[in-house]
Amino acid sequence: MKAHAELAQVWPRDGRLRLIGHLHGPRPAPGPAAHPAEGPAGETELVLLVALRGAPQGGQAPGVPGASTAAGGGSAPAARPGPLRYPVTLDGREFDAWLPVADLVPARLADPVTWDLWLAPPESAGGRPRLRVGRVLDDIRNKKSIMVFPGQRVSAGTLTAVVRPYYTIKDNLSVEVRAAEPGAAR
């Protein structure tokens, strides 16, 4: 089985998406551009990489808020941004990371957008090599309809979006952002 980031818990609440789990298989080696760990040991070895599906993955789009720093809290990304990066707390192989879900809401949202999630060395080019975040080691199949998470509503200007993590048919975790249905309360 390919190395990946195995989820134990997914917490979509209080405006955040928090992910807790452990690394499975060999850890991704830092890319050639990597420098040694910058902060306290164990905190910058990996980042949570959140990439818009269908967007170019070759590098970061310059000037995209939220994509240029590891710290979250940026405003909504522009159209077709590069991946967003967030810090990951590592304790041995256990990981714990979170991001503000407002970061995932684009300025305009005609059609739903999907974000895919990885753990990757902070400086690796284009986020490779990287570990997909998912849950594949347990016995539950068809997680898409069994391990279901609530959406969180995010309002930005006149736009209200619902941000909902979900398991794909391959039991990887992705996040869907869609415009809230008018009048639908949560």
Partner: protein, 391 residues
């Protein structure tokens, strides 16, 4: 012995169908002549496995394309045929409106049942729900020995069904019920009739035992208010902080799925409580678990609890009417708590989640207790009843 079982829909997948098939298979294996008759037929093959020695037939084939063609002929004949068809499609005459199977009947189907019942001249007939028990009591008068099986508690039936039961069940040769409480209740309304308690059998006792080590609690049943999963979810919430690595898996489908999902989200239990949907492999799922929880508000005889026990699973259950206390002794195979008491249910789950040794001990006792519900043991009780009724 010639034994006929009449089911509303032998091709479906309900609990009654499964237990009747288990009975029929055990009787056929003992060399008896067994015939399962389905009032309606909506599928090509039965969902559950029927022994090849058991004959299966239907009275009204409702599969698409199976309806008889409209009669041709003179205008008057067509008019007559149309009128007859209108009546045939009208409501049944004898099945009470409050019977939950009422909607499956029309006049034509009811007539087909009556016609079949009237032609039975020997052997035994077991009918399996009030509508069929009532029709048997009225119309199977040609010499067959009639046993009406009741899977439900009397108090659960609608008033019109209860009235019909009081009027017609005394004509049956015997009433077979599942629990002690049912025996007392049906005796009270059918004083002259023999009322015998014969529990349903589990479909097999040759099961993979649970190790009781995995941190998985399991529940199963229709997602309906009767099953009390809306009580189970808050009960699990009370123990999850102490046992964060435990899961609760609820198997089944039903019209309360959305409400239960909302309850899970409201309690932030989406990492711990899973609505698993329908499974064709409940046996495997039970074997993986370490604790079975029954949160029902009411039960007949909870078969899924017996199935869980056949895997050596300990049980935590509400002491609801009528089944659990018939099977379980509190502190032996599991823990019985006052019905509807969410705190007590949580405390009982917590006690077993904390103690693997206790789970194994209760699980062993559960496996011993469930031996009385083997297909062979239950078959022998039916044979005893039939022999005592033999003319």
């Amino acid at each position: 012995m010639k034994i006929r079982y009449l089911l509303l829909h032998a091709y479906g997948m309900g609990g009654t169908i499964r237990t009747v098939f288990t009975q029929a298979n055990a009787m056929a294996a003992a060399g008896h002549e067994v015939h399962v008759v389905s009032v309606v037929r909506r599928a090509d093959r039965p969902y559950f496995t029927l022994d090849s020695r058991v004959r299966l037939s239907d009275l009204a084939d409702l599969r698409p394309g199976a309806r008889p063609a409209v009669a041709a002929g003179s205008p008057l004949a067509r008019l007559r045929a149309a009128r007859a068809a209108r009546i045939a499609a009208g409501p049944p005459r004898y099945v009470p409106r409050g019977e939950s199977g009422y909607g499956a009947f029309d006049r034509r189907i009811e007539e087909a049942v009556i016609s079949w019942l009237s032609g039975l001249g020997d052997g035994f007939l077991v009918t399996t729900r009030p509508a069929l028990n009532l029709l048997s009591a009225r119309f199977a008068t040609g010499g067959v020995t009639r046993v009406g099986q009741e899977h439900m508690n009397l108090s659960v039936h609608q008033p019109d069904v209860r009235a019909a039961i009081a009027e017609w069940y005394p004509r049956l040769d015997a009433i077979a019920v599942l629990t002690f409480r049912d025996r007392a209740d049906y005796r009270a309304v059918a004083r002259r009739t023999r009322v015998t308690r014969i529990p349903n059998a589990v479909h097999s006792l040759r099961q993979v035992p649970s190790t009781c080590a995995a941190k998985i609690a399991v529940a199963a049943g229709r997602l309906r208010p009767q099953k009390g999963f809306d009580l189970l979810i808050p009960a699990f919430k009370r123990v999850v902080s102490e046992f964060p690595d435990w899961q609760l898996r609820i198997f089944g489908t039903g019209d309360r799925q959305r409400q239960l999902r909302e309850l899970i989200e409201q309690h932030h239990l989406y990492n711990h409580v899973f609505l698993m949907g329908r499974t064709d492999r409940l046996d495997d799922e039970l074997a993986k678990a370490s604790l079975f929880v029954l949160s029902s508000r009411a039960e007949g005889l909870p078969m899924v609890m017996l199935e869980a026990m056949s895997h050596g699973l300990p049980v935590v259950s509400f002491d609801c009417p009528t089944g659990p206390a018939d099977v379980l002794t509190d502190g032996k195979e599991g823990l019985l708590v006052p019905p509807g008491d969410v705190d007590a249910l949580a405390a009982a789950m917590g006690k077993l989640m904390a103690d693997e040794g206790l789970r194994a001990q209760y699980g062993d006792a559960a496996l011993a207790t469930v031996q009385a519900y083997s297909p062979e043991a239950v078959r022998d009780r039916w044979l005893e009843l039939f022999r005592s009724l033999e003319p």
